[in-house]
C-alpha cells in the first residue's frame, strides 16, 4: 500500500529482478543505442572541408537501427495483445496504451534522426551527442508514459525535459537557438515546479506514491485523507502537464522554442514531447476523473479535472488558430498550429474521461488515432523546412516557399498533401482524426467542444492553404538559391514516407482506428 519503498520495511518482499528489465526492453534498447552513438562518435574522423555528403553516416545508421528495434519490440507487444504488466515494485506499468504512445515517440525519434544527418552536416555540428540525446529523450518519454508511481513520473519527466532543452539549444553559436533554449528551460523549469508541487500534494492527500493504488482506493469508495488537497494537487499537476503539451495560457514557450530550434528538432518536440505528455495527462485524467474509475471516492477530483481540461481545450483551440492566422513565418505558423492541435487533442481527453470501463467506448481511442496522423504531418512538414534549407538556415518564411512547385515539384506535392491533411479536408488522415475526436465528443455529450473545434478548424483552412497558394500560385521571389537536394537522402526519404503514410491512413482509416481502440486505456 505504501508504494515503492515497502521493501525497506519488509525484507522478504520480492526484489527487482531480470523480469523487470525484460519488461522495459524497448527503453533499454534506446538507452544502449544512445550510449553506443556517443562512443562510436569517438572513432569517426572529422571530415575535412568541404563536408562530404555522407558525413558520419554510421552514427545515423546505428541510431536509426536502435529506433527500428525498439519500434519492432513495441509493435510486437501490441500485435501479441500483451497483458498489462507491472514491474519495479509497481513503479512501471506497461500496457497497450503505453506501447502505442511509445511507438509514436519512437516514430518521432526515427524521423528526426533521418533528417538530422543532413541538417547537422550543413551546420558543421554533426556530433554523436545529438543522436544520443534524441535517443535518451525518446527512452525517457517511453518511461514517462509507462510510469505508475509519482517518483517515476517526476524522474522521467525531468530526464526527457533536460534532453529536449539541450536539443533546442544544440546549435550553440546561433543566437536564436540559445535564446529559444533559455526560454524553454525557464518556463519548463517553472512547469516542473508546479507539477512537482502537485505530486507532493497528491502524496500528502492520499499517503501513497503509487498512482494505481491511489486510484484503486478512490474507486473502492475510500475517500482520500484530504480531498481538497487532492484536488489542489491534481490541479497543479494539470497545469504542469498543460505547459508540456503547450495549451493556452501555458503556451508562451512554444513559438519561441519551436522557432529557435533546428526544424528537425522542432518536429521531434512537436510530436514526441506532446505524445508522451498527453499519454500521462490521459492516464491521470482517466485514473482520477474517469466516469467509472474514480467512483464514489472523490467526485470533486472528477469535477475539477473535467472542468479544467474542457476549459483548456476551448481556449487553446481558439487561441492557437487565431494566432496562426497572423504569422508570416511558416515555422512559427506551424508552431501555433501545433497549439491548436493540442486543443483538439484535449477534446479527445475530455471524451476519454466520460468513457465507462468495460463500456462500448474505449477511453482515448480518438486521441490515440489523432496522434498518429498528427505525428506524420508535423514530422513531414518540419523535416521539409529543414530539407529545403541552406547552410545554417532552414527554409522558414512563407514567402521563401514561393514557386516551390516549379523547382521541386515532388517536395511541393508532399507538402501539399500534408497541409491539406492538417486542414482536415477529406479524405486525408487529418480529416478522419478530427472526425473521430469530434464524434466521440458529441457521443459523450460534449457537443459544445465539438462545435468550437469544427468552427476553429474552418478558420485553420485559411492559413494552411496560404502555404499551398505560395508554393503553387505565386512566382518565386528573386535571390533565393535553390539548394541541390541530391545528397539529402534522409530528409527526402522521411518526407516521402510521411506523405505516403498520410494518404494511406486517409484511405484506410478503419484499420488504424481499430488498432487505436484496441490500445486505448482500459
Amino acid at each position: 500500500m505504501n508504494g515503492l519503498f515497502t521493501i525497506l520495511d519488509a525484507p522478504a518482499a520480492p526484489a527487482i529482478g531480470w523480469d523487470d528489465l525484460g519488461g522495459i526492453l524497448p527503453v533499454l534498447v534506446l538507452l544502449a543505442t544512445g550510449s553506443l552513438a556517443l562512443v562510436l562518435d569517438l572513432f569517426l574522423k572529422e571530415e575535412a572541408s568541404p563536408p562530404v555528403p555522407a558525413g558520419k553516416w554510421p552514427l545515423s545508421f546505428v541510431s536509426l537501427l536502435g529506433t527500428a528495434v525498439a519500434g519492432a519490440l513495441l509493435c510486437g507487444h501490441i500485435g501479441a495483445a500483451g497483458k498489462p504488466w507491472s514491474g519495479f515494485l509497481g513503479a512501471v506499468q506497461v500496457d497497450l496504451f503505453s506501447d502505442a504512445i511509445g511507438l509514436i515517440v519512437v516514430l518521432g525519434a526515427a524521423f528526426c534522426l533521418l533528417g538530422a544527418g543532413d541538417a547537422l552536416r550543413r551546420r558543421g555540428i554533426e556530433q554523436g551527442e545529438f543522436h544520443a540525446l534524441v535517443l535518451y529523450a525518446a527512452a525517457s518519454m517511453v518511461l514517462f508514459v509507462q510510469s505508475a508511481s509519482l517518483v517515476m513520473v517526476f524522474l522521467s519527466l525531468e530526464a526527457l525535459s533536460m534532453a529536449v532543452y539541450i536539443l533546442t539549444a544544440f546549435q550553440r553559436d546561433e543566437k536564436r537557438a540559445v535564446e529559444g533554449g533559455l526560454k524553454y528551460f525557464v518556463l519548463g523549469g517553472l512547469s516542473s515546479g508546479f507539477l512537482l508541487l502537485g505530486l507532493a500534494f497528491i502524496y500528502g492527500a492520499t499517503r501513497s506514491t503509487n498512482l494505481t493504488d491511489i486510484a484503486g482506493a478512490l474507486a473502492g469508495g475510500q475517500p482520500p485523507a484530504d480531498s481538497s488537497l487532492l484536488v489542489a494537487g491534481l490541479g497543479l499537476t494539470l497545469i504542469g502537464l498543460a505547459f508540456k503539451v503547450g495549451a493556452f495560457p501555458f503556451h508562451a514557450w512554444v513559438p519561441d522554442a519551436y522557432e529557435g530550434a533546428m526544424s528537425v528538432v522542432t518536429g521531434f518536440m512537436a510530436v514526441a514531447v506532446k505524445a508522451a505528455s498527453f499519454g500521462v495527462l490521459l492516464r491521470v485524467a482517466v485514473l482520477f476523473g474517469g466516469a467509472g474509475a474514480s467512483g464514489p471516492g472523490s467526485p470533486e477530483a472528477r469535477g475539477a479535472l473535467l472542468a479544467g481540461i474542457s476549459g483548456l481545450a476551448v481556449v487553446t483551440m481558439i487561441f492557437g488558430n487565431l494566432a496562426a492566422l497572423a504569422q508570416s513565418s511558416a515555422k512559427r505558423m506551424l508552431a501555433y498550429s501545433a497549439i491548436a492541435h493540442t486543443g483538439y487533442l484535449l477534446v479527445g481527453a475530455v471524451s476519454a474521461m466520460e468513457a465507462r470501463p468495460g463500456g462500448e467506448q474505449a477511453a482515448g481511442a480518438g486521441l490515440l488515432f489523432y496522434l498518429f496522423p498528427y505525428a506524420l504531418m508535423s514530422l513531414g512538414a518540419f523535416i521539409c523546412l529543414s530539407h529545403l534549407g541552406e547552410g545554417a538556415e532552414d527554409r522558414e518564411s512563407i514567402d521563401s516557399l514561393r514557386g516551390l512547385a516549379e523547382r521541386h515539384p515532388a517536395h511541393a506535392l508532399a507538402l501539399l498533401v500534408i497541409m491539406v491533411s492538417f486542414a482536415g479536408i477529406p479524405p486525408t488522415a487529418g480529416f478522419w482524426g478530427k472526425l473521430f475526436i469530434f464524434r466521440e465528443a458529441i457521443a459523450t455529450g460534449h457537443w459544445e467542444l465539438a462545435l468550437v473545434g469544427i468552427l476553429t478548424s474552418i478558420v485553420s483552412v485559411y492559413y494552411y492553404l496560404r502555404l499551398v497558394v505560395a508554393m503553387y500560385m505565386l512566382p518565386q521571389e528573386g535571390g533565393l538559391p535553390a539548394p541541390s537536394l541530391e545528397a539529402r537522402i534522409g530528409g527526402k526519404l522521411a518526407l516521402a514516407i510521411a506523405a505516403i503514410a498520410v494518404v494511406l491512413v486517409g484511405l484506410f482509416p478503419g484499420i488504424f482506428f481499430q488498432i487505436s481502440a484496441a490500445c486505448a486505456l482500459r
Binding site: 525531468e158 539541450i166 525557464v186 523549469g189 515546479g193 508541487l197 500528502g204 513559438p255
Partner: protein
C-alpha cells in the same frame, strides 16, 4: 482525520503550538512561503542566474513538502524522503544545464540579462 485542507491547518496549528512542537502545518507554511518567493523571483528578475536561483527555490520548497508529508502524514513510509533525495540530484543536474545555457547566452549576446535575448518574437 479531517477532510479538508484548511480545517486541517486550523486544527493542527493551535494544537501543535500549545504542545510547543513543530507540526505539519509549520512545514507546509514555510514551504509555501519559499515556493512563493521562488515564483516571485522567476517572474520579476531578468538576470539568467537569478532566474536559476528562483527555480532552485521552487524545487527545494517541494522537497520540504515531501519530507513533511512523509514525516507527519505517513508514519511508516520513507517514500517522501527518498523522493526528496532524487529531487536534490535532479536540481543539481538542472543547475548545471542552466549554467551551460547561460554561458552560451553570454557567448552570443555578451550579457546574461534575458531581456536582451529578444530575437524571437514571443
Amino acid at each position: 482525520m479531517s477532510t479538508g485542507f484548511l480545517p486541517l491547518l486550523l486544527q493542527a496549528a493551535p494544537a501543535a503550538a500549545s504542545a510547543g512542537q513543530v507540526g505539519l502545518t509549520h512545514y507546509l507554511v514555510v514551504s509555501a512561503i519559499v515556493f512563493g518567493l521562488g515564483l516571485l523571483v522567476v517572474i520579476t528578475r531578468r538576470n539568467a542566474i537569478a532566474l536559476l536561483m528562483g527555480l532552485e527555490l521552487l524545487l527545494n520548497s517541494v522537497g520540504l513538502n515531501f519530507v513533511a508529508f512523509a514525516k507527519f502524514a505517513t508514519r511508516d513510509a520513507v517514500d517522501g524522503q527518498v523522493i526528496t533525495i532524487f529531487l536534490i540530484v535532479i536540481a543539481a543536474a538542472e543547475a548545471s544545464l542552466a549554467l551551460a545555457i547561460t554561458l552560451n547566452i553570454f557567448n552570443n549576446l555578451n550579457t546574461v540579462e534575458v531581456d536582451e535575448a529578444r530575437s524571437l518574437k514571443g
